[in-house]
Symmetry: C2
């Protein structure tokens, strides 16, 4: 008997989205990770293959995020099932694009589909968040929620978990640039302050309210002028080469806005069309090239559907 086998692609995502630290994120069409999973008779979860990570990810099924979340799934559903996993990393990690989220979501959607979808996508979310805790010490949801649910997602509250898919203008286009410098997420979180001035907090929540209003009412100008982050960006920007020059290039060339993707070093620019985003990415690459810093560009609309079951048989 041929055991059931599935291929799932799960997308990268942009967390924070300017001023929405820890509460906003959206999914991209590319890059992302692919998991191929097959049921087996061993009763064990095995990690048979990991590619595209330069050998850097754990091969121990207890430590690798994909096998870990599959085990969370089996425990949660009370299912006993052997599973063979192959992980094809197709995106950089430590890039600020939700690499661990893409892997975890691909793994969870794969096992859920193979088992006949006992859980909804929303029910998979806490399991994906546990994967984030394993990967970076904090069960945040601003990458896993968009990667899993697709679209633009607000995490209104963590306790209780309250996740809302927001409307947004269909014409938005995202340019991503991943500069080839290293900023581990843990370090990027460590340099943040634990206390902030109320006056800064008020500016921040004015912008968050404006940003969300812009998305909900399809007001792209309001989105653009609301993206600025007064709290996190001023601290993290110093870890990213030529951040403010890149911002100026983006805004000088009709971007709606520019900011750090997650904890960086990737940056994103939100634009009204693909051509604008493409042109800005080329200029940003040129700028970093002058310093001998390589970079990878990605162009994508906001990905409304999230993970994709590529085939199942």
């Amino acid at each position: 008997m041929q055991h059931k086998r599935i291929s799932v692609f799960a997308p990268a995502s942009v967390a924070n989205v300017g001023c929405g630290y820890d509460i906003l994120g959206f999914a991209l069409h590319e890059p992302g990770d692919r998991v191929i999973m097959q049921l087996n008779d061993t009763g064990k979860v095995t990690l048979d293959r990991v590619e595209g990570d330069d050998g850097l990810l754990p091969r121990d099924p207890g430590k690798n995020i994909v096998s870990a979340v599959v085990n969370y799934f089996l425990k949660k559903t009370g299912i006993t099932q052997g599973v063979s996993i192959e992980l094809y990393k197709q995106m950089p990690f430590g890039s600020g694009l939700g690499s661990s989220s893409a892997s975890a979501v691909a793994g969870l959607v794969a096992i859920n589909e193979l088992m006949g979808t006992p859980l909804t996508r929303e029910e998979l979310l806490p399991l994906a968040m546990e994967g984030e805790r394993l990967a970076c010490g904090n069960a945040h949801a601003d990458n896993v929620a968009p990667a899993l649910l697709g679209g633009l997602v607000l995490i209104r509250s963590y306790d209780p978990l309250d996740v809302i898919r927001l409307p947004y203008p269909e014409n938005l286009y995202v340019g991503i640039l991943y500069p080839h410098v290293e900023i581990p997420t843990l370090e990027a979180r460590k340099i943040l302050k634990t206390n902030i001035a109320v006056t800064d907090a008020i500016k921040q929540w004015g912008n968050i309210a404006g940003l969300v209003t812009g998305f909900c009412t399809q007001n792209t100008e309001l989105i653009g002028r609301s993206l600025e982050d007064f709290i996190i960006e001023p601290v993290r920007a110093m870890l990213i080469p030529r951040f403010y020059e890149m911002r100026k290039i983006a805004t000088d060339h009709n971007a709606l806005g520019f900011g750090i993707s997650g904890s960086g070093p990737s940056v994103f620019t939100l634009c009204q069309n693909k051509e604008t985003a493409r042109k800005i990415l080329l200029l940003l690459q040129e700028l970093l090239n002058k310093d001998g810093i390589g970079s990878t560009p990605y162009l994508s609309a906001i990905n409304k559907t999230g993970p994709l079951v590529e085939w199942i048989n």
Copy 2:
């Protein structure tokens, strides 16, 4: 020749609206203040009559907020004109309902109409904010903006000033209770902290994003569960008698939410219909009566139009 004469009513307003400290406010239909104004030939701005204030407001035209904002208007427009002002206070002050805003807005709309509307409502806003600075030391906009523009207003930014009228579900009804205890706005602002924990700020901006999304997408349940204020309310609630008992009564009786109006002591409950708001107000009054604390209730939908020119001749 009969000089032109006008009567303008400007409404009270609820600032902050739960978690939206300094950035959100909405106008009410009642209470409010009335200004009757007449042009004259003296070349001077005079304050001929002030009623309804128990003699507590300044009679000096340089210090009274209505004559002050009329002078700001004349200076701004370069108009030289004598004006006689009568102010009929029809709402309590120090109540947290934007009393000074209602007076300032009534005065500004009256003089602007008498002069043939040289300024738009939006252009009157900075002048009304200067009135707020005179009245309470801070040029905040979360009362004057809704009182002047009507509806539910977001002040996204103060510098530059960026004010956005938000959509909201038409069926919302507001119950206001003004307990007869005194909390001067200046004092209420003084007890606030100047620094807050980032973790609390994140909870707050999650709620603000949820609240604004609820308003924009007509999701009353989301509005209800997003109103909670983690930063300001815990400090100010202690100045309001039986605040948490009042909240429990409201939520036990189907209120969407309950909070402090402005800096208090007035409280508001947001409901899905008038009957719910009326019933809750009666129960709150009963509760405060037990302590011998009198209170004034107001029932109102959100006032979409703002100030009202009652007559001009």
